[in-house]
Symmetry: C2
Subunit: 612 residues, 2 copies
């Protein structure tokens, strides 16, 4: 395998491994850290400043100019400018990070940033006396001084609990309801879980809801994949099988419970200490999680059972958190555009932007949002699961051992997540690999892998040797057998390239239709947000080269990571955002692409690699 | 058995049997009809006007004066003046009845009288189209035009239901929640059940919530009696047995389900068509129904777990009505004074009265409320179950065959409910019997039954013969063996008289303590409301003779029947009263009698029959 260098990110002491020459910005993204880069990485603003703690890194004149010579000599660098060539330790300060909490802070200026929907109050009560024959519940009401409702299950335990705790306890409230009583003062403890339920990938974060701090993060493949790769095949499964909805529902609930349990264990807490789950997903996923049939999406006119945001007790869904905990599901927009898109809009603040922006959330469905605070339009395209590593011969989720970066030099250089021996390829690796194949002419405009004979002399010999004849033309050996975990080579097949073509064409065509609907062209778009959990970083040039997104200047393209999960975190941390997401949901227009003749035409055009 | 006459009450065609000489007012009460009598039965107002349809009834000069000669010759009579001496058919017009609905009408003048908390709306929806990809729930929202929340169980069924019903259905709402969808237009059907859960007796009415009309009425002994006659012994049972609360809870829920099922069957409806139960009871009963331990009432300071009114899904209590139906439990006042007292205040409108009134709700606990709109004070006294026929050797609930009226003439005359052969004695019969024994000297001031030898020549021989020697003095044979259903005589024992003495003394002493607390005497009380389900009618003179209530002029005493059940009906019919009952609950003061030395003294005094 090609050499990599180790980067230790402080203060979290996270270790990542990158190909030498990788920018700090990109390295940080590999560590799941999305950084401030208001100038789009052009080296103008210096907001992406970090500090070298150990190791050497040369500074460019730009950095000296922007940060000042003194800062540079103290070890400060700009993430967009400096490249990592040897092992190092770097500190990424809080102000450089584009965290959920910071977005929130920006959002509600002058107010306390965090208003979790679950809040606690410690109370020391004076029990009733003959002179003051107050009921236990009224005792609490008087002490709390805010209106709340209370479930019978809590009423049933109040008396014994208060007696046992000598009338000192912490009251736990959620959305105007007293949901639990805890012994002693537990106001400092407040856990919540954010979920992004994708068609192929499920990602979840355990947060301290008092501070917004991330305590654990985990991801899994969506186990529903055995019932179909995409939402359409799962909807068909539900229509065709009497217990289909039940089976899909139970499989995702089971996985969510495993993920919650895993994060709780790693954080050393009990799942009963978690009172809130905030969840977003596409509209099909959101219906299935609630065990509401999405079969309306199986036929024209693709209508939903519910659009609005929905709160439901976790136990009604079989989700194992506190017995009285709640699940908050994002509102949908319409058709196939669900709560995950609302969540992306919320976290990227597209609904507040003066300038016109384009957001593309790339998953099994590609959700596209175009517009600004005056008008937002959205669409969903069936990109297929290629970007999440599914339906790709050796595809995998963006987890340890996944090839996430590919460079064609004299030979093929690859980088894997966590620097593990390669065992497959994830979305960003696939984009890189295909982009490099396009750039070097290994594949032609139509996506066909060329015969090594044709390429002789035009590409390095070591690369040409990787083109292998197969039944349907040629495949490409990305990693040799001796360098992989399993001892088998990693291939990109002709079919894999076709899958990628279908996906990128769908997204590109979707963008074009939205531009047309909006009455604008690429030039009118001030900024592009690329979101998705398909890999840690998409190289903007490669995304453009394969024709995933229009040819917009790189400095206007930002990779915002898993923006859907970020939005779910935000909602978990601020009950004040409920109205905002409801507004986004009702005010964003939905454009149905599946019945559009125009879309079919644009899709056919976009199948080609025009950059060749 | 002594002769009775048959009275058929129209329009309901209800048959009752009364002793000749019974006033129409009293006969109507036997048919559960409480009549208007604003003048207190003094023959001044004519509001108690009825019409004779069949049979003869002489008219008094008073009636001719008040109603007019013409009306009298057309068959109109005043219920308080005319007496029934032969079989007859009478029409009691709606305006003469003091119905729950009328109280409500009086209460909310100028507004529509009935605002049931369950309401329906028939909708014919236009399903989503490609041009209007609206969700099913939003379709309903748009059509209904009012805000509501919705449970996940309903969300799960919306799609299939709407499809099957061709998007025409009736939406059922309760307290701001969409609780069901029904096929077709069912807006004309709306059933609710009112319950008064007494310590000894449970009474329930099935109502048409759209019209307020009573569809069925039923009563049972409280099955919890096997765990103790009164609330204190049941609380002890709960404290002493780990599963005590569970057992008491399940036993009352089982009986409630039987009663609901019985009423539904008799009305030819399904229990699933019932969406609402409104329930009142004393604070112990209300805690047990909700499976909340009342053990706080077992010790000083007698505090409750909850005071406020509580809504809970029927299924959480195991009550079998519509799966999404709700149970509304009245707020308590404090200590032993519960929702039934709030309900009595509501239905008698004591909280709105300018003049000072006294309400006495006689059951196993006697609940007393004194005051007017400016100040209301309340207390509960342990009257024991004698007034409901329990703990009396041959006592029974006021149901068919119960002796409900007793007159001592040359011999003893008795009247039973439904004119059945006597099988026991109910509360009102016991009061009558003891009052007559006091009047004729059969018992002395201390309550002791005198020897027939002592009474020889002072009372009719046939009555003297009924005094029988027993182990502990004497018993009194009220009905001879040949006249009873079982062929055994009905006795009133010396012990029965002691039970009655304990009960009446507790209530009388309670009234005296409240008068003292309020700083008034009997003379300041403008009106006395006697409530209870212990028999259909209490003769005011007899209630005063035995010393159950103070010696207040009879025209100032009104018998209001089961006023607690009436209040529950009112709340079932008007969601606007929820705030009113909450205000009554918080603003009525509670006086704890059980620790009052003064009460003990007054109680001891009140044991005597002072009228002798």
């Amino acid at each position: 395998m090609n050499p990599t260098v180790r980067v230790t990110v402080l203060p979290e002491e996270k270790e990542i491994f990158v190909i030498p020459g990788t920018s700090i910005l990109e390295a940080a993204a590999s560590a799941n850290i999305v950084m401030e880069a208001p100038c789009g990485g052009k080296g103008l603003c210096g907001k992406c400043k970090i500090k070298i703690i150990e190791g050497q890194m040369s500074a460019s004149p730009t950095e000296e100019k922007v940060l000042g010579k003194e800062a540079v000599s103290s070890g400060f660098r700009m993430s967009c400018q400096s490249k990592i060539n040897s092992d190092c330790k770097i500190l990424i300060p809080a102000q450089t990070r584009l965290s959920a909490q910071k977005i929130l802070t920006l959002g509600i200026e002058g107010e306390k940033q965090i208003h979790p929907s679950v809040w606690k109050k410690y109370t020391e009560l004076s029990p009733a006396t003959l002179d003051n024959q107050i009921s236990d519940l009224d005792l609490i009401r008087k002490n709390v001084g805010e209106k709340f409702c209370v479930d019978i299950y809590i009423l049933r335990k109040i008396r014994n609990f208060l007696k046992k705790q000598d009338y000192k306890c912490t009251c736990v409230f959620s959305d105007g309801e007293l949901i639990n009583l805890e012994p002693g003062d537990t106001t400092g403890i407040n856990y919540g879980v954010a979920f992004d339920i994708g068609t192929s990938t499920v990602v979840s974060a355990l947060l301290d809801a008092n501070t917004g701090k991330e305590i654990a993060l985990t991801a899994r493949m969506n186990p529903q994949a055995i019932y179909g790769d995409d939402v359409v095949s799962r909807i068909q499964f539900i229509i065709n099988n009497k217990d289909g909805l039940e089976r899909l529902h139970l499989s995702i609930i089971g996985t969510m419970n495993e993920m919650i349990q895993e994060m709780a264990s790693s954080a050393g807490i009990s799942v009963e200490q978690i009172y809130k789950i905030v969840l977003c997903g596409n509209s099909t996923m959101q219906h299935i999680v609630l065990k509401i049939s999405p079969e309306g999406l199986g036929f024209v006119p693709f209508s939903l059972v519910f659009r609005e945001g929905t709160d439901v007790k976790a136990k009604k869904l079989g989700l194992q958190i506190s017995p009285n905990g709640t699940v908050c599901v994002f509102p949908n927009i319409g058709g196939f555009v669900g709560g995950d898109t609302v969540s992306v809009i919320l976290s990227t603040r597209q609904h507040e932007s003066e300038k016109i922006r384009l957001s593309v959330d790339i998953g099994t469905n590609g959700e596209i949002v175009l517009g600004n605070r005056k008008r937002l339009i959205s669409a969903s395209t069936a990109a297929g699961p290629a970007f999440e590593g599914a339906r790709i011969s050796q595809g995998m989720r963006a987890s340890a051992g996944a090839i996430e970066k590919v460079i064609f030099a004299e030979d093929v250089l690859v980088n894997t997540i966590a620097n593990q021996p390669p065992c497959g390829i994830c979305g960003s690796g696939l984009i890189d690999a295909v982009a490099e194949m396009v750039r070097t002419g290994v594949i032609d405009k139509t996506g066909r892998i060329q015969s090594p004979d044709v390429l002789k002399g035009k590409i390095p010999e070591k690369i040409a040797e990787r083109i292998i004849s197969s039944k349907k033309g040629f495949d490409f050996r990305l990693v040799n057998a001796e360098n992989t975990r399993a001892g088998h080579p990693v291939y990109i097949t002709q079919k894999d390239i076709r899958e990628l073509q279908l996906g990128k064409a769908a997204i590109f065509a979707g963008i074009k239709i939205l531009e047309k609907q909006y009455g604008i062209t690429d030039e009118d778009i001030s900024e592009v947000f690329l979101a998705g959990g398909f890999g840690n970083f998409i190289r903007r040039s490669n995304a453009k080269r394969i024709g995933l997104i229009p040819d917009i200047a790189s400095e206007r393209i930002r990779f915002v990571g898993n923006a859907a999960l970020s939005g779910a975190r935000l909602l978990l941390l601020s009950r004040k955002l409920h109205g905002v997401v409801e507004d986004i949901s009702t005010e964003t227009e939905y454009i149905e692409l599946s019945v559009s003749r125009d879309f079919q035409d644009k899709f056919a055009d976009a199948m080609l690699f025009s950059a060749c």
